[in-house]
Symmetry: C2
Subunit: 140 residues, 2 copies
DNA sequence: GGAGACCGGACAGAAAGGGTCTGGTTGGGA
DNA sequence: TCCCAACCAGACCCTTTCTGTCCGGTCTCC
């Protein structure tokens, strides 16, 4: 192992891709999402909270409550979803906070990590929930 | 956090970049590397073992022993170093072994991870130890 | 035949991951 | 009105992984 995202982020992306397949504003309950996507419900609850706090989803309480995307699916990227749950992506500690490593100024490796990080961000930042929609229909 | 390499891999890359700055075949002791690169020696010992087993370095026992690159620096990539220590890189579990996830066949997200993984491998696989050499000299 | 170095693996404390549970709050509907 | 369905917030727990340390063994140069 080593460089791998958490289960929480995996679940988050799947949950979001589920919400994305409905018309904007459609509300799905925690239970519904968990069942459809095979995610432990009590864990999913926590994940969805993070997404709400991050402003990626909105929630509706009370009867017939649930969750919906806060924005059109085309305006939410995988990067945003992952970072909402796992915290900022940083392939190595010096990427996000160079001041944490005394060597960063003179380190010949530092720049290599920056490049890797940048590539990863590019691809994750360019994949939107829309492009993850399972049904290729609904383009009309 | 979440998506981040281990300290072990960080140390490994730094140690290798240290070895790479010497002419081919030059032997450096564990102690020397640890001191120069600020890596706990007993931990570094374990890391170097992994690198030897992976065939990236060779070791010399007895007095005046130590470690050296097994190949020219230009033929060792960051990807190889990282995987020797952390195990195979896999941004998500389904990337390496799709059979572990029952959903992988019909999963609309699966392909996105494959793309991210591929990008990451491209950049890590294209950075060689030679390009990490700290001294820009020694070009002849 | 030392002394200096690597080898191999057991061990351990700390941190993170992965998930559960409980009590509280909100709001819709009978 | 009042109850129930749902989300909200956080404490809690178990397991695994990370990040090392330590020690006895082996090899090899001098
Ligand atoms: S790569 Fe260099 S700068 Fe980054 S953490 Fe390692 S030593 Fe520090
Ligand atoms: S992305 Fe899809 S295939 Fe990959 S692990 Fe998640 S559910 Fe399985």
């Amino acid at each position: 192992m080593g460089l791998q995202l958490t289960r929480g982020a995996e679940y988050a992306v799947r949950a979001m891709s589920y919400l994305a397949r409905y018309p904007e504003g459609h509300v799905s309950s925690l239970h519904e999402i968990g069942e459809a996507q095979d995610i432990p419900e009590s864990f999913l609850a926590k994940i969805l909270q993070s997404l709400v706090r991050a402003g990626l989803t909105v929630s509706q309480r009370g009867a017939h409550g649930g969750f919906a995307l806060a924005r059109p699916a085309a305006e939410i990227t995988m990067q945003q979803v992952i970072e909402a749950v796992d915290g900022p992506i940083s392939v190595n500690q010096c990427v996000l906070s160079p001041e944490d490593c005394a060597r960063s100024a003179s380190c010949s490796v530092h720049e290599a990590w920056l490049r890797a990080q940048s590539q990863l961000m590019d691809v994750l930042g360019s994949i939107t929930l829309e492009s993850l929609a399972p049904e290729p229909a609904a383009v009309g």
